[in-house]
Structures are given as structure tokens and as C-alpha cells.
Symmetry: C2
Subunit: 225 residues, 2 copies
Amino acid sequence: MDKPLESLIVDSILDAIADQRLPAGTKLGEQALSEVFGCNRAHVRRALSMLTGWQVVDHLPNRGAYVATPTPRDARDVFQARRAIETTICRNAVREATDADLDDLRAHLASEDAARGHDNRPALIRLSRGFHILLARIGRNPVLARYLDELTMRSSLIIGLYASGHATLCAEDEHAGIVAAIAARDEGAALALLDAHLRHIEAGIRFDDAPPAVGALSAALRVPR
Amino acid sequence: MDKPLESLIVDSILDAIADQRLPAGTKLGEQALSEVFGCNRAHVRRALSMLTGWQVVDHLPNRGAYVATPTPRDARDVFQARRAIETTICRNAVREATDADLDDLRAHLASEDAARGHDNRPALIRLSRGFHILLARIGRNPVLARYLDELTMRSSLIIGLYASGHATLCAEDEHAGIVAAIAARDEGAALALLDAHLRHIEAGIRFDDAPPAVGALSAALRVPR
DNA sequence: CTAACATTGATTGTTAACAATCAATAATCA
DNA sequence: TGATTATTGATTGTTAACAATCAATGTTAG
């Protein structure tokens, strides 16, 4: 058992960032968090210092912790890193995917379709990220999977900042093409489709509209007690 | 000014790991560290939780923090991740390197030669890692550079564990070839040489000899007060 | 009316004392 | 003798109180 107190706080905040419920720039006050999670301030403090390691929380001395606000520069670097890492992940997935993995992928596509059908945007955001996470799990390299976790989280912040209004956010069904290529063990096609997909996402961000919309904290964090 | 107290502890431990002064499995006791750094135990505690984010310190509840001991599986994944990331870094370096950068690279090669000439193994370990870090800086993608930082540190632990005795550790002058290719703006050659270099390092590790040699703490950490 | 300044409230940083847990030693019993 | 069980010392975990810092409000002079 790994004392799930700090981990709970960390995971809750990471989830909230990934789901775009916690926008960039939100202040993460120690007292506020300790009330939300019903715990000591020291725990919050430890959780926040762990979160700085995920590059999604900035810590300003004597001023507190804030959800990171990636710059356009950061956005470019993050997406380049994603292409570098997801290329290898995808190559692994083409090689390693079992029949059960392919079933998981197809089930995931079905969930995405359902969410799209119901115009369920929050679910679509979560599933859209989940597809890449699933791919990383199938690739069976936890080191790369961990980095992708982090990069998709930063992507959520970037998209929330610079592409909030765009409907083109949720990548049509480019995911389906990638799954088909993996099922066919066609590495070249899979890599090409994935690269195009990532570039498509990146092309959807607009740096002219940068609304530093800071959201409320307690509304975004649901304490899963 | 960013309160360099926790950062100092973190950096000192990271440096010690990178230089192979802190071997895998070493216990990082809170009291011991607070005495070494002459600070409060709470600071040590925060530093340790930051270090877990670097994947080089494992935290066992109620048992303390230990320098991570990568498994052979981890080793394979880490080196695959390095190839994925350094490939892109190298491509960037070929494109972005200025004349000043090339001078830095050549100066670095000279330092390596000097260290090799004096049989200065600690310096050679440090410089060997420094070459890849320098390449990452020239590539001008801080996101990738940060990941490479982490991966080279884990590589140090792996090499210390599984290739401690081998002299083949310090990559001859494969570095020189990479620098030449970058100077010639020959992307293909640079990528091929780098990939071969990384595979060569990985090939040098032997999983049969796994001595969990746990070292002393205070000897490895020098407090830079 | 504007700008500089002082006060105040809230938030973060620091420290020390106490409680809980674990590992190793010592003791007991078969 | 060998294994099991207490005991003990050390280490980690938790909490609360106090100090330092900052941002915002309100005040005063120019």
C-alpha cells in the first residue's frame, strides 16, 4: 500500500488539468486545497512539490503554486517532443499489439464515436487523450509512456489556452486510420498517419487569442472521497 | 531569487547520481541528509519528493527514500527512449548549431581527450554525459533537454549497476565523429553515428553481474556551502 | 486627481514537538 | 539448537504553533 494521500491529491489535480477543468494560471492555494481534500497543509505542500516535477505547476517563492501557463515556444517544443516520442511508441505498438490490444483500441474508437454522437465535449477531451495513452500502454515502454502522460497534460493546457473555441480540436476520426494501420501491421502507414495527426492538432492552435482565463478551483476539483 | 535551499539539495543529489558517486540502492535518510546540508528535515523531505519526480529516487512508505535500482527491463526502455529523443535533438542540433556552438562542441572534445589522457575516470564520466547534455542545449528544445537530463541520469545508474568494471564505458571518440557530421550539416551521418553510439553504450552493459553495492552517503555528497 | 506610502489581512515558510511504524536485538519456549 | 515472540532504538509520519512575506486596501501629501 503506498499511502494514497499525496498521490490522491496529485492524481486529482493531474486529472483536472488533463480534462481542462483546471485552466492554466489557476492559483493552487495551500489552504484551499487542504480544505478540498480534507487533509493537512503539509500534505498539500508535498503534493504541490511533486506536481512541479510534472512541469504543469509553477512554484513562485512566497507567492504560491499556479497551474503552468505554457508559452507559444513551449507549445512548439511540446509538440515536437510528442512527435519524437509517439513515433517510437507507435512503432512499438505495431510490433507488440496483441489481439486483445486491438480489441481495446476498437472499443476505444467506439467510445469516441459515442461521445461525438452525444456532443459530449468533456468526454471527448478525455477520450482523445486516452487514445494516445492507450497506444503508449500497448507500446509497452513505461518510460516513454510516462513522458507521454506528461506531454499530453501539457497539451491540454496549451489547447485550453490557444484553441479553446475551435471545434477542430477533436481529431475527426484520424484515430481510426491509425488503428487500422496497426491492425494491418503496416508500420509506415501508422507512423505517417500519427505524424499527420499530431501536426494537425498542432496546426489547430492559434496564438493570437491568448485569454488568460483563470478559473475557480473548488468547482474544478471533485474530491473522490 | 528562487529559494535555493531545496534546489540545492536536489541538484547535489542529482549530480552525485550522474557522476556515479551515489550508487543505486543507497538509502537517503532524512536525518543524515539534513545533517549533511545543515538544514531542517522538512526541507530534505520536500527535496526527496521532488527527486521522486526524476525517477531516480524510490520512496517506500515508512521505510524511507532510496536511490532507484533500475531493472534490465528499465535499462532497455531507457535506452530506447534515449534513441527516440536524441534523434530529434540531433536533428535540431544539425539545423540550429551556430559557430559558437560548434566551438563549444570542439572545446568539449578537447576536454574529453585531456581527461582520457590523464586517466581521470570521474571526469570522463561527467564529460561523457556532458556531451549529450550540450547537444541537447544546442538543439534548443528545453522539453527534450529536460527528458534527456533525466534519461542520462538513469543511464548513469544503469551503467554503474551493470557495466561497472568495463573500460569500454567511455565511448572512444565516437563523439568526435558526431561533431564532425554536425559541423558538415550532414544530418543523415549525424543521426547514424549517434544511433550507433547509443547502441554501442547499451551493448556494453552486462546483466549477469549485478552487484547491489550500496555505498556510503556522506562520502558521496559534498555540501557546497 | 495622481502618486507615493503605511497599514492590514491573508498566505506561505519554518520550526519543534509528538505519534506511529519498522528493523534489529534480545529473550523465551519447544 | 532453532524458531517464535517481546523489547528497544531509530526512523519516518503528523500536527500545530509561530515567523516572514506579499498583495491589497486605505490614507495622505503634492
